[in-house]
């Protein structure tokens, strides 16, 4: 059955999430729907990771190299709580998100806040250091061996179309989070304040926004988004302490593709890369999909250097 084959493949390591399906040009309805679901959920996960990254950059002008490590931290939090308690990892995902929000606040407080006024490269190097510390600690605590969530998931089927349950959960989680985050940023005064600070940091002061507090909130939220995406990834593949690298690199591509500091750009870019990767892996031989991703990237940079939805920041 194709559904199981994709699940099997996808439980491989990244980035070949649905690779090797080439040569099986089985294009049943199930395949197409599965590809769509997979593209949507991967796009959603990419979007969340990139949104956190671009928020932190937009508001604080900080490039957060620890972003991938934060994802990994969330995976191990969920995995250890679930292993220790014997409960399904799904219940621990919200806990990991809240924990990552706290971790983000702490990281900002102890590493970035004290040097916010220093030149940009200082913060970049500090986040790089935080990444090394986090990854090495996880490596020491949990060993570099690949793990997977202790959860036995079947498939959900209707009208002859079968979707692996893990993918379905990941899809629901990532799409809900994208929509929730979108509503928060667009509809609430606090969300607007974050967007306003990203848009015009000095202008924000003059309407009574405490930008230092917005920095804390943004870094916390960015870390929480990374955590949510991270905690959802083991539902579709195995993980190890280094899995964050691939996602971080993709997130950088997405952030630039969508427009540096552009929140809708991050979500759109995430979807584009998610779709290109999933459909490219299925229909194109080998790693050609990666060539595609970077071709799109270069094309966008040539035609619209500010990114798809990027505008001049005021």
């Amino acid at each position: 059955m194709v559904s199981t084959s994709i699940l099997a493949v996808s439980s491989h390591l990244s980035p070949g999430i649905v690779a090797t399906a080439v040569g099986v040009p089985l294009q049943s309805g199930t395949t197409i729907v599965q590809l769509l679901v997979f593209a949507l959920l991967l796009g959603g996960i990419y979007g969340l990771v990139a949104l956190g990254l671009t928020m932190i950059f937009g508001v604080m002008d900080v490039i957060n190299f620890a972003h991938g490590a934060l994802m990994v931290l969330a995976m191990y939090i969920v995995w250890s709580l679930s292993s220790a308690s014997g409960l399904t990892p799904l219940v621990f995902i919200p806990i990991a998100v809240v924990a990552l929000f706290g971790v983000g606040i702490l990281i900002h407080h102890f590493t970035i806040a004290p040097i916010m006024e220093a030149p940009q490269e200082n913060q970049l190097i500090v986040t790089f250091g935080v990444m090394l510390i986090l990854i090495s600690s996880i490596e020491i605590a949990f060993s570099p061996n690949p793990r997977s969530y202790n959860i036995d998931l079947g498939s959900v089927g209707a009208a002859g179309v079968f979707i692996p349950e893990g993918q379905l959960y990941a899809l629901v989680i990532s799409i809900t989070a994208v929509i929730g985050m979108w509503l928060f940023l667009q509809r609430t005064q606090l969300g607007r304040a974050i967007r306003g600070t990203a848009d015009n940091r000095s202008g924000a002061k003059f309407v009574g926004i405490n930008i230092k507090r917005i920095d804390y909130l943004t870094f916390g939220l960015g870390a929480a988004l990374a955590g949510l995406a991270g905690a959802a990834i083991p539902l579709i593949q195995r993980f190890d302490p280094y899995i964050g690298d691939v996602y971080l690199i993709n997130a950088f591509v997405i952030v630039v593709l969508g427009g540096l500091g552009s929140f809708p750009g991050a979500l759109l870019g995430g979807m584009i890369i998610g779709f290109v990767q999933v459909f490219g892996q299925f229909y194109l031989p080998g790693s050609v999909y990666q060539v595609m991703i970077f071709m799109i990237f270069i094309l966008v940079l040539l035609l619209r250097p500010e990114g798809l939805l990027g505008g001049k920041r005021t």
């Binding site: 005064q189 607007r192 304040a193 967007r195 306003g196 848009d199 015009n200 000095s202 202008g203 924000a204 002061k205 003059f206 309407v207 009574g208 926004i209 405490n210 930008i211 505008g311 001049k312 920041r313 005021t314």
Partner: protein
């Protein structure tokens, strides 16, 4: 003394649509100290940059010492004998003062390998000349701003230039050190070095310059001795702003004010608000007890890094519009930012309705009722007009209050109603200014600090900017306004402060400023 050492002819340089230098022909005689003055954005620094090869001129030519140097690389020009300093001294911070001098690339590639005895001797001479041998072995980052300016000069002297272009050599330097810098400049000048300097401080100009050239909007307005130039009405216009009638003095402007401000007074409450201007207003002012200042700054001292910009100034907001005037670099913006809490005061106190707010940040002051409009308006370009206004009410928790304020703001600026869904950046300059005013009204403040709202606007919109300020007053606010265009702003001013060199030169009723010569003297800080 009569040889021309530096000569530009029809030098042009533009950046996109902005013509920064519009055909400048200037000749500098060997041995003179030639000052270039002019308001902000008149093209002075661009002129320096174009002469010294940092910019490539669009057309025109530069001759130095009998040789055409147009289009030369800047390092070649420097070695040819035409040196320059920058407004912001930028020494090699990790090197000592002496190393900074020795680091100058005097003799081509060879000087990069071995430092000659002559060069060491030259460095010692310069340290002596500038009286800074005691700091020779200090790292450049540890010395004061004024000493850095001296070092900047010293580095250029290493090249033994025949002519030096100085970009505001005394900006941000304390008076004692300023006098020393001037003394050194004079000594070096007597030894035969020609100076061209950009300077805002008129006392420096009158002290040192043989000849003065005035720039305005990329062109030369006039040239002559300091006295000739400051008496020229075109120069006053460049500094004090255009008036409708170029021959009109302040007295004429003030008689105009009478009609205009009385109409303002009609719309506001004439009993509570002694709106200024005109003879009748003066009589009123004498009888009316001094209005209660909501925002009061006392003995404010502040600056940036180790540059003291504001040297102990007391100002307060009053009913109506309080204007702060002063030439570029006099510290107007810094003072305003300090009142808003953006630039913390080094000493002195700030109170709002009697409450001490000296340590507050801008966001806390907005919450209390003090809102500032930054010079660029500070709007959120990627957010819609509605969102800009909603964020203006960031400190408002009650949705009813928010709704009410939104209506008030839109009533005051009805043109925004059609633009609610548009992005801030898609608005025209005038609309952006409106949005900035309306957004500030959303804060519900009763003291507004306006930093040159007319800056960067088309001349036709300048009046609109002032009119918007009066609308804030109509809503019961006290307004402090910084303005370059003194003549225009005097029409709406109820009280005036004049700053020069970070110190208060004048405060009082604008009607007492009837003699334009006095105004020019105060304004230019002579």
């Amino acid at each position: 003394m009569n040889d021309t050492i530096l000569e530009t002819s029809e030098l042009k340089k533009s950046f996109g649509a902005l013509v920064a230098n519009d055909g400048i022909s200037l000749s500098v005689e060997a041995g003179e100290v030639h000052a270039i003055i002019g308001p902000n954005g008149s093209g002075k620094s661009t002129f320096f940059n174009t002469i010294t090869g940092f910019y490539k001129p669009d057309s025109g030519s530069v001759r130095f010492d009998g040789e055409e140097i147009t289009g030369w690389r800047s390092d070649r020009i420097a070695r040819r004998g035409l040196g320059r300093t920058f407004q912001i001294a930028s020494p090699f911070e990790d090197l000592t003062v002496r190393e900074n001098l020795l680091g100058v690339y005097t003799e081509g590639l060879g000087s990069g390998i071995r430092i000659s005895k002559e060069k060491r001797k030259r460095a010692d001479e310069i340290l002596e000349l500038l009286e800074i041998p005691h700091i020779a072995d200090h790292e450049a980052s540890d010395i004061s701003g004024g000493q850095q300016q001296l070092l900047e000069l010293g580095r250029i002297l290493m090249l033994e230039p025949e002519c030096i272009l100085l970009d505001e050599p005394t900006a941000g330097v304390n008076p004692a050190l300023q006098n020393r810098i001037l003394k050194h400049l004079r000594t070096i000048n007597e030894q035969g070095t020609t100076f061209v300097l950009i300077e805002h401080d008129m006392s420096v100009i009158s002290n040192i310059a043989d000849r003065v050239t005035v720039f305005d909007q990329g062109q030369i307005v006039t040239q002559g001795s300091f006295e000739e130039v400051t008496a020229d009405h075109r120069v006053r216009e460049a500094y004090l702003g255009q008036s409708d009638d170029p021959n009109a003095g302040v007295a004429d402007v003030l008689s105009d004010v009478e009609e205009q401000s009385s109409s303002v007074a009609d719309t506001s409450d004439p009993v509570d608000v002694p709106t200024g201007g005109g003879a009748t207003a003066v009589q009123q002012n004498i009888k009316t007890p001094k209005s209660e200042g909501r925002l009061v700054g006392t003995d404010i001292v502040t600056g940036y890094g180790n540059h003291k910009v504001i040297k102990g100034i007391s100002v307060e907001s009053r009913d109506g519009i309080t204007c702060i005037f002063g030439p570029n670099g006099s510290g107007k913006s810094t003072l305003l930012k300090s009142l808003a809490g953006v630039v913390p005061a080094w000493s002195g106190t700030l109170t709002y309705n009697g409450q001490d707010i000296t340590a507050n940040g801008p966001h806390e002051n907005v919450r209390l009722g003090v809102a500032m409009l930054p010079q660029d308006g500070g709007i959120f370009g990627n957010l819609s007009v509605r969102e800009n206004l909603l964020l203006g009410g960031f400190t408002v928790d009650d949705p009813d209050v928010m709704k009410e304020r939104m209506e008030t703001a839109l009533d005051a600026f009805p043109a925004l109603r059609d633009k609610m869904a548009d992005d801030g950046k898609s608005l025209s300059g005038g609309q952006q200014m409106m949005l900035s005013f309306a957004r500030a009204m959303m804060t519900g403040a009763d003291v507004y600090l306006l930093d040159e709202p007319s800056a960067g606007l088309a001349p036709s919109l300048v009046d609109d900017a002032f009119e918007m300020a009066t609308r804030l007053v109509d809503h019961g606010a006290q307004v402090i306004l910084i303005e370059q265009n003194v003549r225009e702003a005097l029409r709406i001013a109820d009280y005036v402060y004049i700053l020069a060199q970070g110190e208060l030169q004048f405060e009082g009723d604008p009607t007492t400023l009837t003699d334009e010569d006095d105004l020019v003297e105060l304004y230019l800080g002579i």
